[in-house]
């Protein structure tokens, strides 16, 4: 900013003024920063830190080079064609003996087994049968005798590929891709290519649940916003009561309702509508029903708050100007509820993406969402690299969707209908 200097002021006083201004500005910035610093640090440690750690794990690949250091070094300048030379075999033999002594072999075996099924056995049998460091020049022969897998190129390219320190292995696997022996990225074998399908399933279920919540929640929110306070409060309690009930309880209640000898099937049978019980649970239908029920309040509350802010005078004005009810609703009321629709949908969608317990309890084997696999690899098989990679892909996809949503609503009026 360049203010015109005061009359009679010379350039000498102008500089200090600028400086003073700058100083004041800086002091204000420092104060503001100091005020939000605790929050920033808190977020950094509890939110950004763990996420960064997760992303790091999906590319970190140092286990093999720590446990088989000489082999990793010997393979660094191997061109990957034919078999590596005697030097690499000798390095591997001494690495295996060292790893057996320190008891770390299994960790390397586990990592290599991810890439090449059966590698665990190759390494453990070799470690068991290798008595001592082979004579000079005979390592290749000795290892090949112990396990013919050492005569295969694929065995060695697997080790080279896993020698880290960074790897694309897990991220590629999360997208059903793999590297072939020449390092080119190719589709994973059909038996192992499941994750794209699971991601698609996750997004489809989340979108269906969001749509169902919107269809069911909109009229309820409208009713809540337009009823006199006494009755709307009572209704609000009905909305919030399930909200305060444990997720597990609500999910199990749906099992009782929907199972083949459950309340719904028995009633239909009693009414003579069906002879055989319908299959309402342990399938996609059950997952959508239970998740919609659990997530409905997250849709109703934002909708309600945006509808509360809409003055009924607008609709009356529209009607007095001759708009039929449907036109008035579509052109006057609906646009004003868009912020509520947006907030509710985004909230429900993102919560649904990470759902785990509900699909696990009321879904079939083909309805498990990505979180099931992340949990499986995190706790049960302890394949943290793949778990992190799946998490990273999910995070990225969700961020993209959120950005897309941001772009979509940017052009809209998101100010509760009134132009400020």
């Amino acid at each position: 900013m360049t203010a015109t200097p005061a009359i009679g002021a010379d350039a000498q006083t102008e500089v200090p003024l600028k400086r003073r201004l700058r100083r004041a500005e800086r002091a204000r910035q420092v104060k503001a920063l100091a005020l939000v610093l605790p929050l920033l640090l808190f977020l950094l440690f509890t939110f950004a830190g763990p996420i960064a750690g997760m992303l790091w794990r999906s590319v970190d690949d140092r286990e093999v080079r720590q446990i088989l250091p000489q082999t990793a070094a010997a393979l660094a300048d191997w061109d990957g064609k034919d078999l590596p030379d005697e030097k690499a075999f000798a390095a591997l033999a001494s690495d295996i003996l060292a790893a057996r002594a320190s008891g770390t072999m299994a960790i390397a075996a586990k990592r290599l087994n991810y890439a090449l099924n059966g590698f665990r056995t190759i390494l453990t049998s070799t470690a068991r049968n290798l008595k001592a460091v082979p004579e000079r020049g005979t390592a290749k022969e000795t290892l090949g005798k112990i396990n013919p897998a050492w005569r295969e190129r694929a065995t060695w390219t697997t080790i080279k590929d896993a020698s880290g320190p960074l790897t694309s292995f897990y991220l590629l696997a999360a997208l059903d891709l793999t590297r072939n022996m020449d390092g080119a990225i190719v589709a994973a074998p059909p038996d192992q290519a499941i994750y794209r399908n699971v991601f698609t399933r996750t997004f489809v279920i989340s979108l269906s649940v969001t749509a169902l919540c919107l269809i069911l929640g909109f009229p309820v929110a409208y009713l809540l916003a337009t009823l006199p306070p006494g009755r709307s409060n009572l209704l609000m309690i009905f909305v919030l009561l399930p909200f305060w009930t444990s997720l597990l309880v609500r999910t199990c209640a749906w099992i009782v309702l929907l199972q083949s000898k459950g309340v719904v099937n028995d009633s239909l049978h009693w009414l003579g509508i069906i002879d055989e019980p319908l299959r309402l649970i342990y399938n996609r239908f059950g997952v959508c029903v239970a998740m919609t029920h659990v997530l409905l309040p997250f849709m109703i509350l934002p909708l309600y708050s945006s509808m509360k802010a809409i003055s009924p005078a607008y609709m009356r004005a529209a009607a007095s100007l001759g708009a039929p009810p449907v036109t008035a609703f579509l052109r006057i009321y609906l646009p004003q509820t868009l912020p509520g629709i947006g907030a509710g949908s985004l909230l429900v969608f993102i919560l649904a993406l990470g759902y785990y317990i509900t699909p696990a309890l009321v879904g079939g084997a083909a309805d498990q969402m990505i979180s099931y696999f992340i949990a499986l690899y995190t706790t049960e098989t302890a394949n943290w690299g793949l778990a992190s990679a799946l998490g990273a892909v999910l995070l990225l996809a969700t961020l993209l969707l959120a950005l897309l949503y941001g772009k979509l609503v940017q052009g809209q009026q998101v100010t509760g209908g009134m132009k400020n």
């Binding site: 084997a365 696999f373 049960e380 394949n383």
Partner: protein, 352 residues
């Protein structure tokens, strides 16, 4: 406005997360902490192990429960300052945790010597606690004829109704092969070949639409009780508990059952190692273990425990000679090597 809201929500989550983390701070110089599987099983353990041990040894201890998963133990140990000392683990957790160095090496001289225990329960990283089975369970009140084994399980013409199986390839593929006529002792030999795996999935195809997949051990008895399934694979102890405590009339088929062991381990770097060994010595004694079997139908690891039991109790245990003669031990080595690949394949098959 919306973006701010999302920020607020994220903040709320973050706040809740830290609060819980802060609550879980580590107490220095804490009492011995023993972790088991919860439910009816841990209630029985409290009665015959934990409370008597506190009285007998004068060692303060508390117990917690968990749901398993070697990843949980890895996070505990690698994070430093683990809050647990003695944990009961499943066989694959024992094997992987042992390889990763998550457990202390078991000093058998402090717990009565290796010779006191049945051979499958002796492991360098842990000591067997219980032996239990996956059996074929059914409701005697609902089925007119008792199923003879896994072959009947796959025969929906002979016995109509849905079937419950544990979600995932483990136990499912073994059961499918036995139903297809593979002898229990040959199951893993066949499963080690690609043809064997194809054969198992092909057998599963025959009842694919009739399977209800369960995930937690508490589910199969409920599936039977509600009539959702006619038969299910189930832990034998759960059937026994349902019959005793809820007056159910469930039956079991021991033929072709899959058995496995759970073990006690001491987490690496435990500050209460001495107390831990005292505890393991106490729960390893035959007179204490036989009391456990009287309370819940699991076999135990001490060689002399079974001899102390009444015949009426023994006949319902996995370790009874008649019950174990045609049972297969779940092969940990096989699953360690193949679990990832077969989990992927199983899910591929399920989604078809």
């Amino acid at each position: 406005m919306l973006k701010r809201n999302i920020g607020k929500i994220a903040l709320g989550f973050a706040a809740a997360f830290t609060a819980s983390a802060a609550l879980a701070t580590v107490a220095q110089a804490r009492d011995l902490t023993v972790v088991s599987w919860g439910g009816a099983y841990q209630d029985a353990q409290k009665k015959v192990y934990f409370e008597p041990f506190k009285k007998a040894a004068g060692v303060p201890m508390n117990d917690e429960s968990w749901d398993g998963g070697v990843g949980v133990l890895r996070a505990k140990v690698q994070g430093g300052a683990a809050t647990w000392d003695v944990v009961q683990v499943e066989s694959d957790e024992l094997a992987v945790g042992c390889e990763e160095g998550l457990f202390e090496k078991m000093d058998y001289s402090k717990i009565g010597g290796e010779a006191a225990y049945i051979p499958p329960s002796v492991n360098p990283c842990g000591v067997g606690a219980i032996l239990y089975d996956f059996v074929l369970g059914y409701d005697k009140d609902k089925l007119k004829q008792a199923p003879g084994g896994w072959a009947d399980f796959f025969d929906t013409k002979k016995i109509p109704g849905k079937r419950g199986l544990r979600q995932g390839p483990k136990t499912t593929l073994e059961i499918a092969l036995m139903a297809d006529g593979v002898a229990p002792k040959d199951v893993y030999k066949v499963l080690a070949t690609d043809e064997g795996i194809d054969r198992a999935f092909k057998k599963l195809d025959t009842i694919k639409g009739d399977i209800v997949w369960w995930k937690a051990g508490a589910q199969p008895p409920q599936l039977l009780a509600s009539g959702e399934v006619a038969m299910t694979s189930v832990y034998n102890g759960r059937i026994d508990t349902a019959n005793k405590n809820e007056k159910k009339n469930f039956g079991m088929v021991w033929d072709g059952a899959l058995f496995t062991l759970d073990s006690w381990v001491i987490l690496k770097g435990s500050p209460n190692k001495d107390a831990a060994y005292k505890f393991l010595d106490f729960v390893g004694k035959a007179e204490n273990q036989s009391k456990l079997s009287e309370n819940i139908a699991y076999g135990t690891s001490n060689k002399d425990a079974a001899a102390r039991l009444q015949p009426a109790v023994l006949k319902d245990l996995p370790t009874a000679p008649d019950n174990i003669k045609n049972a297969v031990e779940i092969n940990v080595g096989f699953w360690l090597e193949n679990i990832d690949r077969l989990t992927e394949r199983f899910n591929k098959w399920a989604a078809k």
